[in-house]
């Protein structure tokens, strides 16, 4: 009875913390060539894909786990993880949603993502990823009419090999850093998006990631290509059940924008953050990189990071095309024992490139937050500008907020401006709100929402509402 009560109490804190009891197929535990071949085989991948994976694995073997980050964590035993886990019912791909395991449908319904299309009124196409496989993609027909490809990447490898071959690994090569290389070797599923020339994607595309099985690492790979003069807005959401052990999530996301194209990538990350004492939670070590390949292209990252025990990621833009634009808007909230080391990289290579970074960090409880960013204007990037603003808000004297920007200017015709502030919610602001009838928690919520507004505005409507609520929930209990 006590345990049950505890569980209920816990669920109140993190409502996505349930796990689905479903039969799984798993790869043997550990990391070796056989496991990689197993993954490749079960996905029925062509020879070149297996080669890609093995090449990455060769490289991975010589790499060392980086240790320069601020949040330290116990060494991960990479041999003690399952690299592939999929619901048994997914072995033979169901042709339609009607054939899908009702348990899966139930899970996503509980998460607030009904997969039956008729249940969707707001018109967002969803690709749902459960552990290592994509279970369903909605609105496929409608998108196909416009020539848009939106499918699990494993399908894309089989059906559109020319596109995947050309772009996969072009932004994050197999020889990249430790976690990116690991992902290249063992990635299981993820989304693939191709927007053809001149098409403006009529609806928001979205992926929903769910880690269910225990002791599993999730390694998804997302590849988005926006051809000339196209536009796409892509959303990503994530949750995981509450477990005592730490789970690893090391995803790679590659964006490629050709001439005059625009990609807007939004994330609301709400992985299980661990309990109040910092036990359990997800290690979110993600590599996200966008390449503005063509001229006048634009990539914009927006992220709301509230979950994960440790968040360690730097969504980046490589501004290669002339006149290209990179943007980064971020809210990161840490509470209890959460740790975050996040920021962005803006690498200016083309002429007249512009970038803008707005980062808001809020730390409460015994958490630790670091903004780490790089702005690099190369000598060829004439007439480029960057504007960076990073503000931190501290709640309580057990938490930390840090700012570590790297600024490199090699071009005399370019301008960089950077500013950062650290402060706390002032007594006057609180007093003012309370005087007008808000209780302390509501007052803090209001002030924090105001603090984050610049970033929240960048999110698509449906997400903005959710994110705003999430900001409130994450800070619950941190006042007083």
């Amino acid at each position: 009875m006590d345990n049950r009560q505890k569980e209920i109490n816990n669920l109140k804190d993190y409502k996505y913390g349930f796990s689905t009891n479903i039969e799984n197929i798993q790869a043997p535990k550990g990391l070796n060539e056989d496991v990689i071949k197993f993954i490749s085989n079960i996905k029925k991948e062509p020879e070149w894909m297996l080669e890609f994976r093995l090449k990455a694995f060769e490289r991975f073997k010589v790499l060392k786990e980086p240790d320069w980050q601020k949040p330290k964590f116990p060494k991960i035993d990479y041999q003690d993880l399952y690299y592939y886990s999929a619901p048994k019912s997914m072995k033979d791909k169901p042709k339609s949603l009607d054939e899908l395991d009702p348990k899966l449908l139930e899970t996503y319904k509980k998460l607030g993502i009904p997969l039956q299309e008729q249940a969707r009124l707001n018109g967002i196409a969803v690709d749902a990823v459960f552990d290592s496989v994509s279970v369903a993609t909605t609105f496929k027909d409608e998108l196909t009419k416009q020539g848009i490809i939106f499918c699990p990447i494993s399908e894309a490898i089989q059906n559109h090999p020319e596109l995947v071959k050309k772009y996969l690994g072009s932004v994050i090569p197999t020889s990249d850093h430790f976690f990116a290389t690991l992902n290249s070797a063992v990635f299981t599923d993820g989304s693939f998006v191709y927007i053809p020339e001149g098409v403006r994607c009529p609806m928001e595309l979205s992926t929903y990631f769910r880690i269910n099985a225990s002791n599993t690492g999730q390694f998804e790979r997302t590849l988005i290509i926006a051809d000339k003069r196209s536009y796409v807005s892509y959303l990503e959401g994530c949750t995981a059940p509450m477990r005592d052990e730490n789970q690893l999530h090391a995803a790679n996301v590659e964006l490629i924008a050709l001439d005059d194209a625009e990609i807007k990538y939004s994330t609301v990350q709400n992985w299980y953050p661990g309990d109040k004492d910092g036990k359990g939670g997800i290690y979110n070590f993600v590599t996200k990189r966008g390449l503005c390949k063509g001229k006048n292209s634009k990539i914009s990252w927006t992220q709301v990071e509230t979950g994960s025990a440790i968040t360690w990621k730097y969504p980046s833009c490589i501004l290669k095309g002339d006149n290209s634009i990179g943007e980064f808007y971020s809210i990161a909230i840490t509470n209890n024992h959460q740790k975050a080391d996040t920021g962005t990289k803006m690498i200016h290579l083309g002429k007249n490139t512009k970038s803008k970074i707005i980062s808001k960090g809020i730390s409460a409880g015994s958490s630790d937050m670091t903004y780490r960013g790089l702005v690099d204007i190369s000598s060829k990037a004439k007439n480029s500008t960057n504007y960076t603003q990073c503000d931190s808000l501290l709640m309580g004297n057990k938490c930390g907020a840090h700012t570590v920007p790297y600024i490199k200017n090699k071009n005399s015709e370019s301008n960089i401006a950077h500013e950062a502030t650290t402060s706390k919610i002032s007594e006057e602001q609180l007093h003012y709100c309370q005087q007008r009838g808000l209780n302390p928690e509501e007052a803090v919520g209001l002030i924090v929402n105001g603090f984050c507004k610049e970033v929240l505005q960048q999110l698509p409507m449906e997400f903005a509402v959710e994110a705003q609520k999430l900001v409130g929930i994450s800070l619950e209990g941190s006042v007083g």
Partner: protein, 415 residues
Amino acid sequence: MKEQLQKDFDNSIKNLSLSQKDIEIKKFCLENFIDKGFPNRKEEDWKFSDLNQIIKNNIGELSFYNDQTSTNKVDTSVFVDGLEHNKIVFINGRIEKIDFEYEKKDQIEIIDQSETINEFKNSNSLSDLNNAFTNKCFKILVKKGYQLVKPLIIYHTTNTKIWSKNINLRLNFELDKDSSLRLVDLFNDTSEKNFLNIFYNFELKENAILKNYKVDKFENKNIKYSFNNIDQDKNSVSETFILSSGSNFSKNEINCNLNGVYASAFVNGIFSLNNHKHHEIRSIINHLTENTKSYQLIKSVLDESSKAVYQGKIFVNSDAQKTDGYQLSKAILLNKEAEFNAKPELEIYADDVKCSHGSASGSLNEDSIFYLMSRGLSYQQSRELLINGFLLDVVEKITDSEIKNLIKNMIGIKE
């Protein structure tokens, strides 16, 4: 390099009368240095300035032994005119003169600490190098309540007698309660291709005031590293001004510990570089207790293919409530080959603080030039006027008027 170090080390301790214990410490430091070598870009603090490469490219092989048995003649022509001052003269790393002629003799104590080496707490290998090879180390103690009447100028002079040498210096200062010291470091090099490794340690007691001005103005081909450690007690004030301009490579590091309440630290700096020069300032201000204050302003004007680096860190301990920390770095790049790198860092563990930093870099404002030219100035004149105004801002921060004028004259800044 290892054999050279070992050989030079044996030579240098031969001439010193050291206790067995001191020799052990020196040996230990030498081994540490042999182990680590010169700092390189793999170390986070040296990311933007790879000293190992810089020494390799500019000097090649260094030798570490300095024969300091014979005295050098002090060239009085380098002394500053028109300002009465106390002097310490270093020539090629050897102390030639300590002269406090304007002060009360019993208020200042000069302690020879050569035989008791206190290890420097600094994580990089250059402190080991310094520990192993310094052979004279003086401590200057300003006694309780004494405020020096005239400034102290330390002349760092090198002449053509030395070549491809490493020179290690060490000075310790203690400012007792209510005392004050104005200190100017003046670099004057006619030598080429040497590596100077200078360590200062300042201990500021309650209400003490330290003003330290470092002026590296004259063109030279030497490589310099200077480390300042400042420990500050209650109510003390430290002011550091750095003019970084003359040497081929120079890195100034300021590590300031604000240990007492109401202590404050000011760090201001100017980079004025051209011609392949590469300079860096790295400051670490540790706010360790409540109600402390720090202020930093660094401005750079970079011409030709020069490179300036500013790494500034404000650390706020969890006890250090009511901290006020501010940091601003601005750079003007005059040439497309010039480069400015900055890493302004905040590390904060207390919530009731006011900390901010800003960094901006870019070209001269064309609108401002247009404005001035439309009023009859030539392009060159407008440019000079703007740069003058840009740098004057930092010079004006110098609180000592005598020295402010001295520095203004030296760099030709007009009001």
